[in-house]
Symmetry: C2
Subunit: 139 residues, 2 copies
């Protein structure tokens, strides 16, 4: 079980294994695109659990600090969160409705090159394409 694994990673890092954290991780596991803190909160409440929005934020912050979750800021001013899985993901984002579609990453090679030129230690990258999705096109 993947969520079990995540919880164990937390335990291994001196973090307690609570129902709230399990609930947040479950939502992240079930989501196939990045979700906002509010969305996570609502999905947990809808599943019959009780949780506070600040617990959601604190859990996400913890998971990000442990490298288990990636945070991205969107143009609408809200952050989105996604589990860091084996291979990372990039997204095609509809500028009409913010819907996200996963796409493959084409730019592993570039990192080494840029790192050499700029003397940065490259730790990651983000690639996003923007466009109008078929549904928004019809409107």
């Amino acid at each position: 079980m993947d969520d079990k694994r995540k919880v164990n990673i937390l335990a291994g890092k001196g973090c307690k294994n609570t129902k709230s954290r399990e609930a947040v991780i479950n939502v992240l596991e079930a989501a196939d695109t990045p979700v906002s803190a509010e969305e996570i909160f609502v999905r947990i409440i809808e599943s019959g659990f009780s949780i506070n929005i600040s617990t959601v934020y604190r859990t996400l912050e913890l998971l990000e600090s442990k490298g288990l979750v990636a945070k991205t800021m969107m143009k609408d001013g809200r952050a989105r969160f996604e589990l860091v899985r084996g291979e990372h993901r990039h997204h095609l984002i509809c500028t009409g409705c913010m819907k996200m579609v996963p796409i493959d990453c084409p730019i592993e090679a570039l990192e080494r090159d840029v790192g050499r030129k700029t003397r940065f230690d490259i730790t990651g990258h983000k690639l996003e394409l923007y466009g109008i999705c078929p549904e928004c096109k019809e409107e």
Copy 2:
């Protein structure tokens, strides 16, 4: 003069040519990496001009809606703005201090491919690498 051109584009779209807008455009012209609304505001004030922060936001919103400015959200929760120039720019961003270094774009070809697969109308993309800059490495 480039800023003159921008102002004229505004005029051509039924927008008035004011000192505030000129000041915002001047700051954007002078910046070689994306800047926050607050930074724009401060630079205008420091240059001896008087302007209100909401005028800065309104001007940026206007410029973005006319396609003259690109807005990007950063992980620190603040948006950054940059003039849309002939060729677009991508950035290498230090996760320590948020410093940005321009890099070339390697992914024009990808857009067509993704567009065909997803039936989105691709309107643009964003590529960012993250890392630790030489200065932050020393600390």
